[in-house]
Every structure is written in C-alpha cells, then in structure tokens.
C-alpha cells in the first residue's frame, strides 16, 4: 500500500503541472486517499450538561472502533479528535482549530443549543459539515439554520408533539390547567413557546407559569406554589440536573399531580432513582427499544462500559454511522458533496422500526420518537428499566413528518 502511494505521489510531483493543466488528476483526491479520515467531536464534558456529554464521548469511542474494525470508510480508518466544548465561545474556537489546523472532514456532537449555533457559524464559513447530536431549539432549524448543519437530535417541536399525543390521549389538555416551569435561557424559552402553542391550540390553559434561573437547585418555593395552584398537569421545560433535582423534591414534598415534560434525557431519570421518577416524557431513543439494531447497540455499549447507553449515546452513534454511510456511498469526504447526498433524501438505519432521512427544507432528521412513562415502584426490577415506552410516534401509517414543525411554525432559508 505505502509503496504504491509513494510511487504515485512521486509521479504526480514530477508531472504536477502537466497533470493539473490536463485536468487528469485532482490533488484533493490524491490527498483524500492517503491516511485516515479525521472526525472532530465537540460536546460539553463539564458543567450542567457534562453528565450527558460523557455518554456522548463513550458512544463516540465505541462507534469509531466499530467502523474501523469493519474496514473504515472508503477503506480508510477514522481518526477521532475529541474536545470539551465548554461554552459557545470555546466551542467556536475549537471548531475553527479542528477544521483549519486538523483538517477534520466533519464535526459531530454538541448538546447546548447555544454552542451548536457558534459551531454551525464556523462550519458554514469554512464549508465543513457539522452534525448536531444534542441541540434541540427550533431556532437552529429555522431562523438560525445553516446549509452545512444537519440535525440528528430532534427539534423541540418533535419533542412537544410526540409527548403531547400521550397527554391528549390521557385527556390532559382540553379544558385542563397546566403549571409549567421553564429554564430561563435560550433552550427553555424556545421550548416554552412551542409547548404553549401546542397547549393553547388544543384547548388547555396555564394555572401557573414560572421561569427558573439556570443555577437554581432548590425547588421548594415552586412546589409550594404548585400545591396551592392545584393544576391538572405539571409540565417541565427544564434541562440537565435541574430535572433530577425537581423530581427528587417533587417526591419529597409528596405532590401527586400528574407530571411530565417536554425536554428529557434518560440519565436524569436514572439519577432521580426509583420512586422519585414520575410522569410521562419524550425521548429520541431509549435502551428498551426492541429493534435488532437498538439491542445490538445496547449490548455492545453495556459490554464495554458496564451500563446501558443513554439517549445522548444514541445521537453520536447514529450520527457517525450516517456520516460513514454517506462517505462510502458518495465516495468522497467533500462536505458540499455530502450535503447534496443528504439533501437527496438518502435513507439511514437509525436503529428504529423505520429508516430515517434528513428533511431537505431544514436538515432535520425525520425519525420516530417515543414517550416514556415512569413505572410504579413495585414494578421496577433494576435501576435502569424504570419506565415503559409508547409505540413509535408517529405510528406506522403516518408520515414521519407528522410530528415535525410545519412551515408556518418554523421555516428555514439556507444561504449558500
């Protein structure tokens, strides 16, 4: 292998001018055929999203080893560069360095919507593919959308509409009063907007609606207000450790109003623990999905790390597999070609019952979601299997787009 490469390179060196002039060889291809393909992974590993970032990193290591063991992409190995994205500013600096100095073929990762945006701006400017695995805000798919950014993570609208169906089926919306708590930053505001639209269009109203500072750890004052307001449903638009804190204290105060939320990660339910975890929540994926793909992933992850994967782990796993498939099928690592490949409606195995695809209008992955409901304490067998799942949403006879935002709700115009 090495020998033939060296020969080819030597040949090219000699005939560079002539070859280029004749258009017989493109240096990009020569370069692309040598050495590994680099992927840059950025995600918060410290701070309040750090617990989820850890799952992302574990999954990234797993999937890269898996792809390399299977022969890599176009016969070339993947070389993975991993960094803590810390905050939007640092994320942007690191993305720039990965693209400019390390020449990564694409950037995968993120959880914070704010950092997603700064990375996307760099990716767009440098014409490099960025696959978002954890930023939810609808704004990233509408006002802030970028042609080089694709979203494996579901948008807030998909979260709201998938768990919203469970609330509708349980008669929790029409004529009912909700009490909502919302994280006081971009993600929470975006989610509240979508949730409110859903509630009002289905005939519900707010019994109360509080913003929660992101560094709040104690919810007792809110719990007293909730008890006083006697709502029909308590809904949370919170993120990270705040969901865990809330659930633990909700149980502590003995409140029993039905409860649920529009943003969620299974790690937070596991952290709240048996008996404290209550309510109905939306997830992009969970470890109890019974497709062969999901169970294979769960088995490989559990074998390596001694615990089942969290939904964030699914994000990196699927994003990297999608990237590998695209490179293999489009036979290039050129970002623009890959963007065109994705926009062409290619189908991907996303470990669910139906394959997924990227919607051309906003680059959102169209795929099934689930609503999970906490099991009562006496039905729980271990610390991981603490919820039951709805069937995939949307159902088998519906378009996958049924739960995504409509053009009226959020529309995107790409600039090239």
């Amino acid at each position: 292998m090495d020998g033939s490469n060296a020969t080819r390179r030597g040949l090219l060196k000699g005939a560079a001018g002539a070859a280029l002039g004749a258009g017989l060889a493109r240096p990009a291809i020569v370069h692309a055929q040598s050495g590994p393909i680099r992927i840059g992974h950025l995600t918060p590993r410290t701070g309040f999203l750090g617990p989820l970032g850890e799952y992302a990193v574990m999954s990234m290591d797993l999937v890269v080893d898996e792809i390399n063991a299977g022969g890599g992409m176009m016969g070339r190995k993947i070389e993975l560069l991993k960094e803590d994205s810390v905050n939007p500013q640092t994320a942007s600096t690191k993305a720039e360095r990965m693209i400019e100095r390390d020449k990564v073929a694409c950037i995968i990762g993120e959880i914070s919507s704010a950092s997603c945006l700064t990375i996307a701006q760099v990716a767009q400017r440098m014409r490099t593919l960025f696959i978002n695995t954890g930023g939810n805000s609808d704004a990233l798919r509408s006002t802030d959308c970028k042609r080089y950014m694709f979203h494996v993570e579901s948008q807030n609208s998909m979260y709201v509409k998938s768990v919203g169906r469970s609330f509708l089926a349980a008669g929790m919306v029409k004529g009912k009063r909700w009490y909502s708590l919302t994280a006081d930053y971009a993600f929470g505001h975006d989610l509240l907007k979508v949730a409110k639209r859903f509630m009002e269009s289905n005939g519900g109203s707010f019994a109360g609606d509080d913003l929660v500072p992101t560094d709040a750890t104690d919810f007792s004052a809110y719990l007293l207000k909730i008890r006083n307001a006697k709502p029909d449903l308590v809904v949370l638009n919170l993120a990270g450790a705040q969901i865990t804190n809330f659930l633990k204290q909700y149980a502590e105060f003995g409140l029993t109003y039905p409860c649920g939320g529009f943003g969620f990660d299974t790690a937070l339910a596991w952290a709240a623990g048996k008996g404290n975890f209550v309510g109905t929540w939306p997830v992009v994926w969970h470890h109890l999905i019974e497709t062969p793909g999901s169970q294979g992933f769960v088995a490989a992850f559990s074998k390596r790390y001694g615990k089942p994967p969290e939904n964030q782990a699914w994000g990196e796993y699927v994003a990297t597999k999608i990237f590998a498939q695209a490179v293999n099928e489009a036979k290039t690592t050129d970002s623009l070609k890959l963007v065109e490949y994705f926009e062409g409606g290619a189908k991907f195995d996303v470990l669910k019952t139906r394959p997924g695809y990227f919607r051309k209008s906003d680059h959102q992955l169209m795929h099934e979601m689930y609503a999970v409901t906490a099991l009562p304490a006496d039905k729980i067998r271990n610390q991981w299997d603490i919820f039951s799942s709805s069937p995939p949403v949307p159902g088998p006879n519906e378009e996958l787009e049924a739960i995504a935002s409509t053009p009226d709700e959020a529309s995107c115009t790409f600039t090239t």
Binding site: L211, L224, W270
Partner: protein, 289 residues
C-alpha cells in the same frame, strides 16, 4: 397563607447555605484562607454518603461521612493551608481553586460524570401537617440538624476555652502568640470543623439534590454571597445573611418574579459591598483593615 408559607420556606432554604457558609467564614477569619475548595468538599460528603449507605445506612453515613470529610480538612490544613497563612491571600486563593478543580475531576474520574441516584430513606419520608401548613418531614429534620449545629458551634466558640483562643486568634494572632499560645493546633481543629460542616451539608442534601461532580461548584457561589453579606468572620452575621438570602429568594418566587430569584441575592451583595463593605454584622478585624 401561601405568602406566609413562602416566607417560612425561604428561611429554611437559607439553612442549606448556612452550614457551608459558617465553615467558610470560620476558616477565613482565623487563617485568612478563602477556601474555594469548600464546595468540592461538600460534594465529597455527598458521594461518601452514597458509598457508605450500603454498609452503614443513611444514619451511619450521617455520622461517619462528615467526620471523614472533617479529617480530610485537617490533613489539608496541615499540609497545605498552613503554608499560606502569612502570605498573599491570592496564593491561597489559587491553591484552593486548584484543589476544587482536582477534587471535582477526581469525582468525575471515580464515579463518572453521570449523576448518581440516591433517595430519602423511607423512615424520613412524608409530610408534617400543622393546620394549613404542610411541609416535607425531611426538610423539617434538616432544619433541626442545622439549628443544632449552629447552637453547638456557638457554644464551642463562646463558652469554651477553645473558643476563647480561636476568637482571640481571629482578632490578633500576634498577641495570642505573645501570650505563649500556639494557634497551630487550633487552626487544624477549625479547618476540621468547618470542612466537616460542609461534608455534613453534603450528606443532608444528597437525598434531595442531584448528586453529580459539579454539585460543589453550584453551591459555593451562593455560600460566598452569604458570607460576604453577613460579614467575614461574623458568626451571627452569617446566620442572619443565610436566612435573609433564603427569604429574599422565596419572596421573589412567591411574588411571581422567579426569574430574578437568583439575581436578587447578588443585588443584595452589591448593596452590602457598596454601603457596608464589612458586611451586615461584620466586626472590624484589625489585621484586615
């Protein structure tokens, strides 16, 4: 009625900061060390509870974990803090900042970044009902424990010979030395007690807060705000400030301005720093002015 409940709850909310703020204040007053690692030691207390519970139960951890964290404090004092009492405060600030990061990352390496689950033991669950006032039994117990700690610390500082030496040391360590009393062993005790209190706070909050490596960083800032408002080194100042901070937060949530419930405590700190830099009850400490 709801508002009254909010006021009472606000007072209780302040108690969480109290245990951490008291230790911070005490260690600073005696040695001049601003212990930024205090939050990390609180987190270690919480993680120790998780580790010890399978063997000792919550009750056993409640006794053992704070003592273990306190001993860690004594070790830190003996090998690290001690070198910085007479030097520029910025050095000890850097030292404890570094320690906080090492401890947090250490927890992340040992236990993983994912939060771990822990619940209130069954015998402490339930609600206290007094007329219209319904409140968590666990939190009521927490208040009792915190009040007992405050009382015990007050007795120790005000009514024992140990406390007299410590208080004299706060005011004028050189004079204490001139009288032939070495402050060194006292420093170790004070660090042990102050840090042990942070460990105790970790034990008490593990059942109701998310247990994750950055939990210390979350609580250290409001605890500092309490110390600054109350006055560094002032016992009752810290107690009053903790209650005041809790009350202000509770009032903001109660009135429907929850988005400002954190901002209000920083505003309070700003006002105190502008108009009374030594803090509400802060005494004039000769060597710092």
């Amino acid at each position: 009625m709801l508002f009254l409940q909010q006021l009472l709850n606000g007072l209780l909310d302040g108690v969480y900061y109290l245990l951490i703020a008291l230790g911070l204040s005490l260690i600073f007053a005696l040695g001049g060390v601003v212990n930024l690692a205090h939050g990390a030691l609180f987190a270690i207390g919480a993680y120790l509870t998780l580790v010890l519970t399978p063997y000792l139960g919550f009750g056993g951890s409640f006794v053992v974990a704070p003592v273990a964290v306190g001993l860690l404090g004594v070790v830190m004092e003996r090998f690290l803090f001690r070198r910085f009492y007479r030097s520029d405060p910025i050095l000890s600030l850097l030292l404890t900042f570094g320690l906080a990061m090492v401890a947090e990352q250490g927890l992340r390496m040992i236990f993983g970044a994912a939060p771990l689950s822990y619940s209130i033991p069954s015998y402490l669950r339930g609600q206290v009902v007094v007329g219209d006032f319904v409140y968590s039994f666990y939190r009521t117990m927490l208040l009792v424990v915190a009040a007992l700690c405050v009382a015990a610390l007050w007795v120790l500082l005000q009514r024992t010979s140990f406390g007299r030496v410590v208080r004299a040391g706060v005011q004028d360590p050189d004079m204490v030395g001139a009288l032939g009393i070495s402050l060194r062993p006292y420093m170790a005790w004070v660090a042990g007690i102050g840090i042990g209190l942070a460990g105790l706070a970790g034990v008490l909050l593990a059942p109701i807060y998310s247990v994750h490596p950055a939990m210390g960083a979350e609580i250290i800032t409001p605890a500092f705000v309490v110390v600054v408002i109350g006055g560094l080194g002032s016992f009752w100042g810290v107690v009053a400030a903790a209650l005041l901070v809790g009350l202000a937060k509770g009032t903001m949530v109660g009135l429907g301005y929850s988005a400002f419930s954190t901002a209000i405590i920083y505003l309070m700190m700003l006002l105190v720093l502008l108009f009374r830099p030594r803090g509400l009850f802060g005494e004039r400490i000769t060597r710092f002015e």
